[in-house]
Symmetry: C2
Subunit: 279 residues, 2 copies
């Protein structure tokens, strides 16, 4: 059997940063477990972030109106995507787990990492209109976010100044990772390490190291499976009437995004043990 592989997509500029330390902990711990670990160090690679015509080799299908999504889908089918994208896609194919390690910038990933998502997760390769969410192309793979914040944990509570971190993580975890099928592990959040004394930073890394020991056996976060929806244009890609009826008696919505006008299931995007739809 081939050696199992983990890909770490890593976005920090600096040697000696806390993010680098978190990345190193993951590399060492996973290698100790026998995994092959590949790190895509985006700044070191000077990874191109912008989605441009250069991502396609050869002629465009529709040169009179360049549409990035369409053109890259065709280019993927015909093996005409630019080399740097092909290399990353090969890593994704080989990986059983992808860890995104980054500092939170503006409630999201840094632009260079957004560029990785925009450019590597090509239609056809990473999703199709038939294959998404729990039926997605990468449904047998795992992915997770591991990030540092500038803000403290209480600032990201539902009653904290920044609002609920579960809401903030939805576009990344549901809209990107789970959209492509990934089973998403609970995020590893390092709260405000820059404001913490060295002993606390060390303890944070020790906690991460300990978690990594059982990471691959963790239960993923709960999302709403496609089977609950009427996935047709006539049905509007909405929850089926039967499911909707059944959910009425539930105290919470299904997920952070599928709240159905009810209270959000607590910590749906940060804890696998949280309440939510039963699959």
């Amino acid at each position: 059997m081939a050696q199992k592989t983990v890909l770490i997509v890593y976005a920090h500029q600096s040697v000696g940063s806390f993010n680098e330390a978190a990345c190193d902990v993951a590399v060492k711990e996973l290698e100790k477990q026998g995994y092959r670990v590949i790190v895509s160090d985006l700044y070191a690679m000077n990874f191109k972030a912008s989605t441009t015509q250069d991502d396609i080799i050869g002629d465009l299908k529709k040169p009179e109106l360049f549409q990035y999504g369409e053109e890259t889908m065709h280019a993927w089918q015909e093996e005409r995507l630019s080399g740097d994208i092909v290399i990353e896609q090969q890593k994704v194919k080989e990986a059983e787990l992808i860890i995104f390690q980054f500092p939170l910038y503006w409630f999201s990933v840094p632009a260079i990492m957004k560029g990785w998502m925009d450019r590597v997760l090509t239609q056809g390769f990473a999703f199709s209109l038939k294959k998404m969410y729990n039926n997605g192309i990468f449904k047998d793979k795992k992915a997770m976010l591991s990030f540092t914040t500038g803000a403290t944990q209480t600032m990201f509570r539902p009653d904290g100044i920044n609002g609920d971190i579960n809401v903030t993580l939805w576009p990344l975890q549901n809209g990107t990772l789970h959209f492509c099928g990934f089973q998403v592990f609970a995020p590893q959040i390092f709260w405000a390490p820059a404001h913490c004394p060295p002993a606390v930073r060390t303890a944070m890394l020790d906690g991460w190291r300990a978690r990594l020991q059982g990471l691959l056996e963790e239960k993923p976060l709960t999302f709403a499976p496609c089977e609950l929806f009427d996935l047709s244009f006539e049905g509007g890609f909405m929850l089926s009437a039967k499911v909707k009826k059944k959910q009425e008696s539930q105290p919470y919505g299904l997920t952070t995004g599928h709240h159905l006008g009810k209270p959000l299931p607590p910590d749906n995007q940060i804890s696998a043990e949280a309440s939510g739809v039963k699959n």
Copy 2:
């Protein structure tokens, strides 16, 4: 009195695209109203998206550990930010309103636009730990998102396959724009224009043109004002006990992110008329 200015930060690769048409409509309509309109055409400018050391001219304060946020804050204070950032910051200073025009990529802005946010909204220039949200540096300015989707509108309902669009918009509208103080106008959402016949696309643009006629007089979206929170490290930057008590009897949370374990105020991030905290 100086001519009033609108800045459009525009991210689409193609002449002839629907996004370009939406941008053109805004330029023409706002110029007709007497505004000076500046367009930052990010792809045409080949705008650098990644946050690197090149954004700082001269010596680093702490070369042994490069910290982008800290270093750019110092560089801003000492007028040592790279020229392309300075030019964009000057446009922001002059603008009364900023419109972000883009296609939604992975439930968010394209990487090149995220790069604009990461690089232009420098600490000191765009926010400080004392000046944020409704007390933010740009509190006398307006900003808004105007974007196209691949998905239909029903897919982004709370019971649609992608979940509530209000949740998806929170990191951009609260976490980025309002964080810097901007009053945020309701987003202009062009639902799936690529799947619409020409007449519908034309009608969408006509609707945008009509909205632009009264845009500057619109009421902005509702966010939770800082005054409701105890903004101290001891207080955890959380809702004050008095406000929390008072909110208990309310049927909805304050905002999409500040839901307080209650149902989200409907359409808090897409409609200014929606329910929510009364300021």
